[in-house]
Subunit: 388 residues, 2 copies
């Protein structure tokens, strides 16, 4: 194979963005050959905007046409696993949008289908292409920061007005999205939180607030506390009703502290590890020598185009995936644990009790205000530039 023929499942908000990237020639070795969408207006939009791209109503018909080698799944969250499982069954490579799904149990089934397949499986964790987070991961993996002691991520700059929530009946409902800020806005950060430090929590205690300053049924304000096997702790704070909000990630280790804020990384590096200093120090008020270092920037993140190029290269050349699809379950598990801890008002141990989480989620879905619509809601995808 010298070129990967892509088909996109769902050309709404995110899928239309992928379609534009795949048709503007920026991805080497890739071509968009087909799209599918259950909504007539989306299909009309695709026909009007792309030439030499076949348009289907269903993903099954699109894959069965033989026109595609790989699919990009950009449906509503709940359907990601179902579409991926079908893709593997029909023998195509699968790249799914985030989140991997809505509850870990369904995502585990998707991962099992991927493992049984010989096709590539990726997830659009485009923030993993950001040089800042790649550098953080490298500094931790290489031991520069020493053993991790604490993480603090304040990611409250997801301002969403009531008008946003009112822009789709499925938005911010248990039935339509399966959650709020954790499922829709934060999947990247929840992934990066564990990917950069290379550790999953062992237990969590979270405090979700539902419909905070907004008329919605899901969480839009969360404070979560995590503990790790090595004794480290972490805090993750997010909200959609604050302006201007903050995006500040702080990671402390035995060799100092790294802060990413305002697109910059600062490393306060200890000349010797805190453990070594503490072991030899005899003065009551002494502290380790610290060097404040501005870690150089390595350019802009290629974002979605970077993920599409990497996935294409993986298919054509065997290049390792930056975001293997199987890893989508990690961030989702953290998100599920935050919900479950709030619902049960107590600790949640990880690995997660996925059946219990699913059962508790289903209670909320049963009471959800969302009703699956019989017809399309709106034709033109909203402009999401800069929001994902």
């Amino acid at each position: 194979m010298s070129i990967v023929r892509y088909g996109i499942i769902g050309v709404g908000n995110m899928g239309s963005g992928h379609a534009k990237i795949l048709t503007d020639g920026s991805i080497k070795g890739a071509v968009l050959t087909a799209v599918c969408d259950g909504f007539e207006k989306q299909r009309e939009w695709a026909k009007a905007n792309f030439k030499d791209v076949a348009v289907f109503e269903t993903s099954a018909a699109m894959i069965d046409s033989g026109l595609v080698d790989a699919v990009v799944v950009a449906t509503p969250h709940y359907d990601h696993p179902k579409e991926a499982i079908q893709g593997f069954a029909k023998g195509v490579h699968v790249l799914i949008e985030k989140p991997a799904g809505v509850y870990a149990k369904q995502v585990r089934e998707m991962n099992e289908a991927a493992a049984a397949s010989d096709k590539k499986f990726g997830i659009v964790y485009n923030q993993r292409m950001n040089p800042l987070y790649q550098k953080l991961r490298e500094l931790i993996a290489s031991g520069e920061l020493g053993e991790i002691r604490r993480t603090n991520w304040i990611i409250t700059n997801w301002y969403r007005s009531q008008a946003y929530y009112d822009s789709g009946t499925w938005r911010a409902t248990w039935g339509g999205e399966g959650g709020g800020v954790l499922i829709n806005q934060c999947p990247h950060q929840l992934d990066l939180w564990q990917w950069t430090i290379g550790m999953m929590p062992t237990r969590m205690r979270a405090f979700c607030q539902f419909g905070k300053h907004r008329s919605i049924e899901v969480e839009n304000d969360v404070t979560a506390y995590a503990e790790y096997e090595n004794g480290a702790t972490g805090v993750f704070i997010t909200a959609t009703s604050e302006a201007p909000g903050t995006n500040r990630l702080e990671v402390s280790g035995d060799r100092g502290k790294i802060v990413i804020e305002d697109g910059r990384m600062t490393f306060w590096r200890l000349r010797e590890s805190e453990t070594a200093f503490n072991a030899r120090n005899k003065e009551a008020f002494a502290s380790p020598e610290v060097w404040k270092i501005d870690i150089p920037s390595h350019g802009r993140s290629p974002e979605h185009a970077g993920i599409l190029q990497n996935f294409t290269d993986a298919i054509l050349k065997g290049t390792p995936l930056v975001a293997p699809g199987e890893e989508g379950i990690n961030g989702l598990t953290i998100s599920n644990a935050m919900h479950l801890s709030t619902w049960l008002d107590g600790w949640v141990d990880l690995p997660l009790d996925e059946d219990l989480h699913e059962a508790e989620l289903n209670k909320r879905i049963a009471e959800s205000t969302f009703q699956k619509p019989a017809v399309a809601e709106n034709a033109k995808p909203a402009d999401l530039t800069g929001t994902f």
Copy 2:
């Protein structure tokens, strides 16, 4: 009265600092006339360093001498309430060091004694003299920031090595100090956390870790979550084993966000309140207009000298106290709630169940490694410059 004659109870670490300020002529209307200390070496140190200052072994003898109008209580934490109650009983003004005491119940008894007295009662919350926190309090009280929605205080720059903890057998023990970083290092921040925003939490969930990276029995690593009556939330994070640590206070309100870090205050101010914007906005991805404002600095904090001058002026001229002693119970209650939440592994409602807290604390004291020493530990006060 034209001059206040001060006597200091305990001339160890903190008391010796007050003695120096009172004898260097920087406090108008104040003079140091006496000190007392149970340790012979401290008394010898006082005699060698101050002239025209009477030296006593007990506070009762010092007050009964008639040489003092006001006492500064700088004993170990547990004794603050006992000494204050004696002072009021003997008719002198009382200025206590922080913390007000170790458990809220004993502090409540002290406050009752103060209320029954006609003498002034102050607490050395010298950080209330810091123009940054005074400005924050003013911006909130005046409505500039709008209704408070969230607070985040990361105050992890209390680096304390094992050598520090080993410098006194009483240090970091339940029997000697009654706690760790919450009782010894954080009283100022715990006070400012509620003083600046003008709200106490209604319930708390805290996660204290005991002897984290240090051989001590008390907490030196804390993550605490707070909820307030108006729906706001807060997080307070502190530790003593991280280097270089962070001191960053963020407060979000309906009119924007204020951050105090590195001795600077930045105010991201919304042109209209978030509530008003949200009510009128019709665009899905719009957000309120924000102005980033560098709030001007108002000089250095007068710290302890400022508190001593204010207390002196209160006695001589009726000047309002910046830090009334009765308010010491607020920060201590928050600290007690953090301990209790950890011990019970659950929510703690405020107002605090002070009897329950005392009972739980007494369990730890009964098992404490600390034994009251028969003799003095060390003669020369450690140099605490910049540490309080």
